[in-house]
């Protein structure tokens, strides 16, 4: 029978291998975007940011949704592994959200002429980021593990509920943010050479998420196991 500590070490080991594969894939996306994808006629080279920005948005939203689902399961089942997973997923989501919130303005400056506008999609993406920052501020402020997990779960569930809303902001409000060009009801309006790089990037961000979250879960699970063995 494996102990909780051995389990955590296994998660870390596997997670690091998957993360390494993801990072190699990320380098591959860079190569594809710059070497094997044509330059867009109207936006020029700035359009290449598109191969990073929407996949980062997708990965961060996926991470926040999983953090919310795990938090909901924690509240229902009171199994601390769900809390450990929620914390891991929220942290990885924040890293990807940082990619989203930095690459977006760098694209907006040459295309819109402004780094930032208080547009619905942009504003709610920033609120989502700040909400998960507050999730970690809250976690570090509460000492009792059960109380900490319960309070944090409520914040993560609120963050999860914001995700579908962020997705439909471009339909609900009169925004400057572009409408979806790939994930929509009719066919993607992208030539195959661009679509190929775009979809590869989505796959790579998924692999990076899996690798990062597994490693981070292992780190959290190891800390819990060590605390329990210290207490025992």
């Amino acid at each position: 029978m494996t102990t909780a500590l051995e389990n955590a070490e296994n998660h870390i080991r596997r997670g690091r291998i998957i993360a390494l594969i993801g990072l190699l894939g990320f380098a591959g996306v860079y190569l594809m975007a710059w070497r094997f994808t044509p330059v867009e006629r109207f936006q020029g080279l700035a359009q290449k940011i598109f191969y990073i920005h929407p996949p980062a948005a997708y990965a961060s939203e996926m991470a926040f949704v999983f953090a919310g689902v795990a938090s909901l399961l924690y509240l229902l089942l009171k199994d601390e592994r769900f809390d450990t997973f929620a914390e891991a997923s929220a942290e990885v989501g924040l890293a990807f959200a940082l990619v989203l919130l930095t690459t977006g303005p760098i694209w907006a400056k040459p295309i819109w002429g402004a780094w930032w506008t208080w547009d619905a999609r942009l504003t709610f993406s920033l609120i989502e980021f700040l909400l998960f920052c507050s999730y970690f501020a809250l976690r570090s402020a509460v000492r009792d593990p059960a109380e900490r997990a319960r309070y944090a779960a409520v914040v993560a569930i609120m963050g999860m509920l914001l995700v579908p809303f962020i997705h439909i902001t471009v339909y609900l409000f009169n925004t400057t943010h572009p409408q979806p060009v790939v994930v929509k009801t009719d066919k993607p309006s992208l030539p195959w050479e661009m679509l190929r790089t775009f979809l590869t990037s989505f796959g790579v961000f998924t692999v990076m998420y899996l690798g990062f979250v597994m490693t981070r879960y292992g780190i959290g699970a190891r800390r819990v196991a060590e605390e329990l063995s210290d207490a025992g």
């Binding site: 109207f42 080279l45 940011i49 890293a95 690459t103 694209w107 040459p110 990062f212 780190i219």
Partner: protein, 32 residues
Amino acid sequence: MPDNGSYAIAAYIVAATIVIGYAISLVRRSKR
């Protein structure tokens, strides 16, 4: 075609810095 390649390069460098930086932080924390 607009000349905005420096923005694209900056965005790619920023994205790589965040992703690799986070990966390094995970590796450091995962070591005993």
